[in-house]
Protein backbone atom coordinates (compact mmCIF):
# COMPACT_ATOMS: atom_id res chain seq x y z
CA UNK A 1 0.00 0.00 0.00
CA UNK A 2 2.53 2.53 1.06
CA UNK A 3 4.92 1.55 -1.75
CA UNK A 4 2.36 2.17 -4.36
CA UNK A 5 1.75 5.56 -2.93
CA UNK A 6 5.43 6.29 -3.07
CA UNK A 7 5.45 5.39 -6.76
CA UNK A 8 2.55 7.64 -7.52
CA UNK A 9 4.31 10.45 -5.86
CA UNK A 10 7.40 9.89 -7.91
CA UNK A 11 5.57 9.76 -11.17
CA UNK A 12 3.71 12.89 -10.42
CA UNK A 13 6.88 14.61 -9.40
CA UNK A 14 8.53 13.62 -12.64
CA UNK A 15 5.58 14.71 -14.68
CA UNK A 16 5.50 18.01 -12.88
CA UNK A 17 9.06 18.82 -13.72
CA UNK A 18 9.35 18.05 -17.41
CA UNK A 19 5.96 17.74 -19.00
CA UNK A 20 4.77 21.33 -18.57
CA UNK A 21 5.92 22.23 -22.06
CA UNK A 22 4.47 19.10 -23.54
CA UNK A 23 1.14 19.81 -21.95
CA UNK A 24 0.98 23.25 -23.50
CA UNK A 25 2.20 21.98 -26.84
CA UNK A 26 -0.41 19.25 -26.96
CA UNK A 27 -3.03 21.69 -25.94
CA UNK A 28 -2.11 23.92 -28.84
CA UNK A 29 -1.97 21.01 -31.27
CA UNK A 30 -5.43 19.87 -30.23
CA UNK A 31 -6.73 23.38 -30.33
CA UNK A 32 -5.46 24.23 -33.78
CA UNK A 33 -6.35 20.86 -35.25
CA UNK A 34 -9.92 21.07 -34.10
CA UNK A 35 -10.21 24.64 -35.32
CA UNK A 36 -9.10 23.54 -38.74
CA UNK A 37 -11.44 20.58 -38.62
CA UNK A 38 -14.35 22.71 -37.51
CA UNK A 39 -13.86 25.63 -39.85
CA UNK A 40 -12.50 24.01 -42.98
CA UNK A 41 -12.96 20.25 -43.12
CA UNK A 42 -16.35 19.96 -41.47
CA UNK A 43 -18.12 22.40 -43.80
CA UNK A 44 -16.68 20.54 -46.77
CA UNK A 45 -17.86 17.21 -45.43
CA UNK A 46 -21.29 18.51 -44.50
CA UNK A 47 -22.37 19.18 -48.05
CA UNK A 48 -22.50 16.79 -50.91
CA UNK A 49 -21.89 18.21 -54.35
CA UNK A 50 -24.50 17.53 -56.96
CA UNK A 51 -24.35 18.39 -60.61
CA UNK A 52 -27.40 19.68 -62.42
CA UNK A 53 -28.76 17.19 -64.95
CA UNK A 54 -28.30 19.74 -67.74
CA UNK A 55 -25.99 22.69 -67.67
CA UNK A 56 -28.30 25.56 -68.42
CA UNK A 57 -27.15 28.81 -69.99
CA UNK A 58 -29.31 31.65 -68.75
CA UNK A 59 -27.56 34.31 -70.84
CA UNK A 60 -28.25 32.46 -74.03
CA UNK A 61 -31.91 32.14 -73.20
CA UNK A 62 -32.28 35.73 -72.02
CA UNK A 63 -31.22 36.84 -75.47
CA UNK A 64 -33.92 34.79 -77.10
CA UNK A 65 -36.91 35.73 -74.95
CA UNK A 66 -38.89 38.96 -74.81
CA UNK A 67 -40.16 39.03 -71.29
CA UNK A 68 -37.03 38.53 -69.24
CA UNK A 69 -37.25 36.07 -66.38
CA UNK A 70 -41.03 35.88 -66.59
CA UNK A 71 -40.84 34.37 -70.05
CA UNK A 72 -40.07 31.05 -68.48
CA UNK A 73 -40.55 31.64 -64.77
CA UNK A 74 -44.10 32.86 -64.85
CA UNK A 75 -47.20 33.18 -62.72
CA UNK A 76 -50.16 30.93 -63.20
CA UNK A 77 -53.61 32.39 -63.49
CA UNK A 78 -54.43 31.69 -59.88
CA UNK A 79 -51.51 33.84 -58.83
CA UNK A 80 -49.26 30.95 -57.89
CA UNK A 81 -45.76 30.94 -59.24
CA UNK A 82 -44.81 28.18 -61.61
CA UNK A 83 -41.13 28.17 -60.67
CA UNK A 84 -38.74 26.22 -62.81
CA UNK A 85 -40.32 25.53 -66.20
CA UNK A 86 -41.70 22.11 -66.93
CA UNK A 87 -40.78 20.17 -70.01
CA UNK A 88 -43.99 21.40 -71.58
CA UNK A 89 -42.62 24.95 -71.79
CA UNK A 90 -39.21 23.93 -73.05
CA UNK A 91 -40.66 21.79 -75.79
CA UNK A 92 -42.11 24.92 -77.35
CA UNK A 93 -38.66 25.67 -78.72
CA UNK A 94 -36.73 22.49 -78.14
CA UNK A 95 -38.84 19.89 -79.89
CA UNK A 96 -35.66 19.27 -81.83
CA UNK A 97 -32.23 20.50 -80.93
CA UNK A 98 -31.93 24.03 -82.24
CA UNK A 99 -28.21 24.34 -81.76
CA UNK A 100 -25.07 22.29 -81.54
CA UNK A 101 -24.58 22.53 -77.80
CA UNK A 102 -24.05 19.01 -76.39
CA UNK A 103 -26.06 19.98 -73.30
CA UNK A 104 -29.02 20.81 -75.47
CA UNK A 105 -28.62 17.61 -77.43
CA UNK A 106 -28.55 15.74 -74.13
CA UNK A 107 -31.67 17.55 -73.04
CA UNK A 108 -33.52 16.71 -76.22
CA UNK A 109 -32.43 13.08 -76.27
CA UNK A 110 -32.73 12.30 -72.59
CA UNK A 111 -35.78 14.28 -71.65
CA UNK A 112 -37.76 15.67 -74.57
CA UNK A 113 -37.67 12.47 -76.56
CA UNK A 114 -38.48 10.35 -73.51
CA UNK A 115 -41.04 12.81 -72.17
CA UNK A 116 -39.31 12.86 -68.84
CA UNK A 117 -39.27 15.93 -66.62
CA UNK A 118 -35.80 17.26 -65.92
CA UNK A 119 -34.96 16.70 -62.25
CA UNK A 120 -33.58 20.19 -61.73
CA UNK A 121 -31.94 20.87 -58.42
CA UNK A 122 -33.41 24.06 -57.11
CA UNK A 123 -30.98 26.27 -55.25
CA UNK A 124 -33.65 28.35 -53.58
CA UNK A 125 -35.95 25.49 -52.63
CA UNK A 126 -37.36 26.19 -49.21
CA UNK A 127 -38.41 23.45 -46.81
CA UNK A 128 -41.99 22.26 -46.85
CA UNK A 129 -43.06 24.39 -43.91
CA UNK A 130 -42.41 27.60 -45.81
CA UNK A 131 -45.02 29.48 -47.75
CA UNK A 132 -43.60 32.07 -50.08
CA UNK A 133 -45.77 34.24 -52.26
CA UNK A 134 -43.93 35.42 -55.34
CA UNK A 135 -46.99 37.43 -56.31
CA UNK A 136 -46.87 39.47 -53.12
CA UNK A 137 -43.24 40.31 -53.70
CA UNK A 138 -43.14 40.75 -57.44
CA UNK A 139 -46.58 42.15 -58.15
CA UNK A 140 -47.58 44.05 -55.04
CA UNK A 141 -44.17 45.05 -53.74
CA UNK A 142 -42.71 45.42 -57.23
CA UNK A 143 -39.47 43.66 -56.42
CA UNK A 144 -37.02 42.39 -58.98
CA UNK A 145 -36.02 38.77 -59.23
CA UNK A 146 -32.41 39.84 -58.80
CA UNK A 147 -33.07 41.31 -55.38
CA UNK A 148 -33.41 37.90 -53.81
CA UNK A 149 -32.05 35.51 -56.40
CA UNK A 150 -29.05 37.48 -57.57
CA UNK A 151 -27.95 37.88 -61.14
CA UNK A 152 -28.75 34.33 -62.13
CA UNK A 153 -29.90 35.59 -65.50
CA UNK A 154 -26.31 36.60 -66.25
CA UNK A 155 -24.91 33.14 -65.71
CA UNK A 156 -23.78 31.02 -68.60
CA UNK A 157 -23.50 27.89 -66.58
CA UNK A 158 -25.16 26.41 -63.52
CA UNK A 159 -23.06 26.18 -60.41
CA UNK A 160 -22.71 23.00 -58.42
CA UNK A 161 -25.62 22.31 -56.13
CA UNK A 162 -24.51 21.69 -52.58
CA UNK A 163 -26.83 19.67 -50.41
CA UNK A 164 -26.54 19.29 -46.69
CA UNK A 165 -26.22 15.62 -45.79
CA UNK A 166 -28.20 16.01 -42.61
CA UNK A 167 -30.94 18.43 -43.50
CA UNK A 168 -31.27 17.91 -47.23
CA UNK A 169 -31.23 21.67 -47.81
CA UNK A 170 -29.36 23.51 -50.44
CA UNK A 171 -26.41 25.47 -49.12
CA UNK A 172 -27.92 28.57 -50.66
CA UNK A 173 -30.62 28.49 -48.00
CA UNK A 174 -28.49 28.18 -44.90
CA UNK A 175 -25.80 30.46 -46.24
CA UNK A 176 -22.53 30.21 -48.05
CA UNK A 177 -20.48 31.39 -45.14
CA UNK A 178 -20.02 29.19 -42.11
CA UNK A 179 -19.79 32.18 -39.82
CA UNK A 180 -23.20 33.30 -40.98
CA UNK A 181 -21.94 36.48 -42.61
CA UNK A 182 -23.45 37.48 -45.89
CA UNK A 183 -22.42 39.87 -48.58
CA UNK A 184 -25.46 39.77 -50.82
CA UNK A 185 -29.12 39.30 -50.09
CA UNK A 186 -29.01 36.04 -52.03
CA UNK A 187 -26.15 34.54 -50.05
CA UNK A 188 -28.61 33.21 -47.56
CA UNK A 189 -32.38 32.63 -47.48
CA UNK A 190 -33.20 31.84 -43.89
CA UNK A 191 -36.18 33.04 -41.95
CA UNK A 192 -34.19 35.83 -40.39
CA UNK A 193 -33.34 37.15 -43.82
CA UNK A 194 -37.01 37.35 -44.73
CA UNK A 195 -37.80 38.94 -41.40
CA UNK A 196 -35.02 41.47 -41.72
CA UNK A 197 -36.32 42.70 -45.05
CA UNK A 198 -39.89 42.77 -43.79
CA UNK A 199 -38.88 44.91 -40.86
CA UNK A 200 -36.85 47.20 -43.07
CA UNK A 201 -39.72 47.65 -45.49
CA UNK A 202 -42.32 48.02 -42.81
CA UNK A 203 -44.39 45.07 -43.86
CA UNK A 204 -47.26 44.47 -41.44
CA UNK A 205 -45.82 43.34 -38.14
CA UNK A 206 -48.84 41.75 -36.58
CA UNK A 207 -47.61 39.08 -34.24
CA UNK A 208 -48.83 39.39 -30.69
CA UNK A 209 -45.89 37.47 -29.37
CA UNK A 210 -43.01 39.06 -31.20
CA UNK A 211 -44.51 42.29 -32.52
CA UNK A 212 -42.94 41.23 -35.79
CA UNK A 213 -44.29 39.33 -38.76
CA UNK A 214 -46.88 36.77 -37.77
CA UNK A 215 -45.90 33.14 -38.33
CA UNK A 216 -48.58 32.36 -40.87
CA UNK A 217 -47.25 35.02 -43.21
CA UNK A 218 -44.41 32.77 -44.29
CA UNK A 219 -45.36 29.40 -42.83
CA UNK A 220 -47.96 26.91 -43.84
Amino acid sequence: MSTSEEKTKEVSANADSDSGGAIILFFIIGFVASLIAGWIIFPKLLYCQKKQPIDFNHVLHMEEVDDGCESCHFFREDGTYAGVPKLEQCVGCHEEAVGEDPEEVKFVNEYVAKEREVPWLIYSKQPDCVFFSHAAHVKTAGMDCVTCHGPIGESTSLKVYEENWITGYSRDIWGQNMSGLKEHAWDRMKMDDCAECHVKNNVKQTSVQTKKGACFVCHK
Binding site: K9, D16, M191, D192, A195, Q209, T210, K211, K212
Partner: protein
Amino acid sequence: MFPFIFEWIWDMSHIVFMGGLWYALNIIGIGMTYCIIKAVVDTYQGKGGHHHDEACECGCDNHH
Protein backbone atom coordinates in the same frame (compact mmCIF):
# COMPACT_ATOMS: atom_id res chain seq x y z
CA MET B 1 -32.29 34.63 -25.90
CA PHE B 2 -30.02 36.95 -27.87
CA PRO B 3 -31.01 40.31 -29.25
CA PHE B 4 -30.39 39.14 -32.80
CA ILE B 5 -32.93 36.32 -32.55
CA PHE B 6 -36.23 36.83 -34.32
CA GLU B 7 -38.28 36.52 -31.15
CA TRP B 8 -36.37 39.20 -29.27
CA ILE B 9 -38.00 42.53 -28.58
CA TRP B 10 -36.65 45.37 -26.52
CA ASP B 11 -39.51 45.53 -24.11
CA MET B 12 -39.97 45.34 -20.38
CA SER B 13 -40.54 41.59 -20.21
CA HIS B 14 -37.41 40.84 -22.14
CA ILE B 15 -35.30 43.29 -20.24
CA VAL B 16 -36.46 42.00 -16.87
CA PHE B 17 -36.47 38.33 -17.74
CA MET B 18 -33.38 38.17 -19.87
CA GLY B 19 -31.69 40.66 -17.59
CA GLY B 20 -32.15 38.22 -14.73
CA LEU B 21 -30.96 35.36 -16.85
CA TRP B 22 -27.86 37.04 -18.14
CA TYR B 23 -27.10 38.34 -14.67
CA ALA B 24 -27.14 34.78 -13.35
CA LEU B 25 -25.22 33.41 -16.29
CA ASN B 26 -22.60 36.09 -15.88
CA ILE B 27 -22.13 35.39 -12.20
CA ILE B 28 -21.76 31.71 -12.93
CA GLY B 29 -19.47 32.33 -15.88
CA ILE B 30 -17.30 34.99 -14.29
CA GLY B 31 -17.18 33.10 -11.02
CA MET B 32 -16.04 29.91 -12.65
CA THR B 33 -13.55 31.71 -14.89
CA TYR B 34 -12.14 33.42 -11.82
CA CYS B 35 -11.84 30.11 -9.98
CA ILE B 36 -10.16 28.34 -12.87
CA ILE B 37 -7.71 31.15 -13.66
CA LYS B 38 -6.89 31.58 -10.00
CA ALA B 39 -6.38 27.84 -9.67
CA VAL B 40 -4.01 27.84 -12.65
CA VAL B 41 -2.10 30.77 -11.20
CA ASP B 42 -2.04 29.17 -7.75
CA THR B 43 -0.76 25.95 -9.20
CA TYR B 44 2.11 27.69 -10.97
CA GLN B 45 2.89 29.52 -7.77
CA GLY B 46 3.36 26.12 -6.27
CA LYS B 47 0.39 26.13 -4.00
CA GLY B 48 -1.52 22.99 -3.33
CA GLY B 49 1.37 20.68 -4.11
CA HIS B 50 1.23 19.38 -0.58
CA HIS B 51 0.66 15.82 0.30
CA HIS B 52 -2.76 14.76 1.16
CA ASP B 53 -2.09 14.16 4.82
CA GLU B 54 -0.56 17.54 5.48
CA ALA B 55 -2.59 20.36 6.79
CA CYS B 56 -3.87 22.58 4.12
CA GLU B 57 -1.84 25.75 4.21
CA CYS B 58 -4.54 27.77 2.67
CA GLY B 59 -6.59 27.12 5.74
CA CYS B 60 -9.63 25.87 3.93
CA ASP B 61 -12.00 23.64 5.78
CA ASN B 62 -12.17 21.07 3.06
CA HIS B 63 -10.84 18.26 5.09
CA HIS B 64 -12.31 18.70 8.46
